[in-house]
């Protein structure tokens, strides 16, 4: 794993600490937006959070949160569901770093500032390879120092509304293969009213969430190993989706 430059590490530390201070404000704002304005509900939220905290106690190994992807609010809903805003205030390293598409939020400065304060590292999908590689190295560094990150293992929001097993984001496997001991937390999230992909979930939607820690294995090497890791994660999400629909 490549060591980051001092300036990049300092920039991370600055972003993290300013974000930590700003969290005093958004711990109220985020639940207000999600619960009051959007009227979202998480099914068995107490059970979900108890399970998540037990999982964190069981292992001190780094992990990458890898959810299915249907809406642009997925990462916010998952983060809120797993921890709860107040909890993150006291466990700030567990607030996952996110990699939103730069063009989705960069057009207005309030969204840019908001993203920066909530541990986002912008990425331009399909952008220059050296830029994407730089972002991947930043995530590798953050995971290696015990922080959490969230990356969608599908190469975009699923157009079919189901996890697309042939749509695999290579970066997920690349990160997992390069951070010693790193595991993947596969997360399946779905609103009751979510039929296919959308920008935001329907107002008043109620979310099912399930998660499972997994450690991909592969006999391959190089890029093929990374691809194999990514594929195993997406395949597990397909399995979790089947379990969701079987249980309805």
């Amino acid at each position: 794993m490549t060591r980051l430059s001092f300036s990049t590490r300092a920039a991370h530390a600055f972003q993290r600490e300013v974000g930590r201070l700003a969290a005093l404000f958004w711990v109220l704002a985020i639940p207000f937006i999600l619960r009051v304005l959007m009227r979202y509900r998480i099914k068995d939220v107490a059970g979900v959070r108890t399970r998540y905290r037990a999982l964190l106690k069981e292992s001190d190994r780094p992990f990458l949160i890898c959810p299915n992807h249907l809406t642009m609010m997925d990462s916010a809903v998952i983060t809120w569901a797993l921890g709860g805003s107040w909890w993150y205030l006291f466990h700030y390293s567990r607030l996952p770093w996110n990699l939103p598409e730069y063009n989705n939020f960069a057009s207005q400065w309030p969204t840019r500032v908001g993203a920066w304060l909530t541990k986002c590292i912008p990425v331009i999908r399909g952008g220059r390879r050296e830029d994407i590689s730089r972002v991947i190295k930043r995530v590798q560094h953050l995971l290696a120092r015990g922080e959490t990150a969230l990356i969608f293992p599908e190469a975009g929001r699923s157009r079919s509304g189901r996890v697309e097993a042939d749509s695999v984001a290579h970066a997920v496997g690349r990160i997992l293969t390069s951070v010693p001991g790193c595991q993947s937390l596969c997360v399946y999230l779905r609103g009751d009213r979510q039929q296919t992909w959308s920008t935001v979930p329907a107002r008043g939607d109620s979310f099912y969430i399930d998660f499972e820690l997994m450690e991909p294995k592969s006999d391959h090497a190089g890029m093929r190993r990374s691809r194999h890791f990514s594929q195993q994660i997406v395949d597990r999400l397909v399995g979790m989706e089947e379990e969701y629909f079987a249980g309805r």
């Binding site: 220059r128 390879r129 190469a155 990374s226």
Partner: protein, 94 residues
């Protein structure tokens, strides 16, 4: 181009031959057919040929199969143009 540069499974491959093979592998993923007709070593795979970035990984894995080489993720970061791909393959074969 054209100098004898490498032997692959006992068969010598010139840079031109590697280039031709690379173009053949890239071809199914190309969305800009006009750029493909004028392809040369400076042609950018993503920007000029309009290959989907997610598919670039598939292309490089195809290189592994076709040339019997192993490519690391960091190696692939250097592949922007067709010439970069040819250079990477030549390096791996040497």
């Amino acid at each position: 181009m054209g100098a004898l540069t490498q032997f692959h499974t006992g068969v010598p491959m010139t840079r031109d031959e590697i280039f031709a093979k690379v173009v053949e592998i890239v071809k199914p993923y190309v969305k800009n057919e006009e750029a493909l007709e004028a392809v040369n070593e400076e042609t950018n795979i993503l920007e000029d040929l309009k290959v989907n970035s997610a598919r670039l990984v598939d292309i490089i894995l195809n290189f592994e199969d076709e040339f019997d080489i192993e490519v690391e993720d960091e190696d692939a970061d250097a592949v922007n143009t067709v010439g970069d791909a040819v250079a990477l393959i030549q390096e791996k074969l040497s």
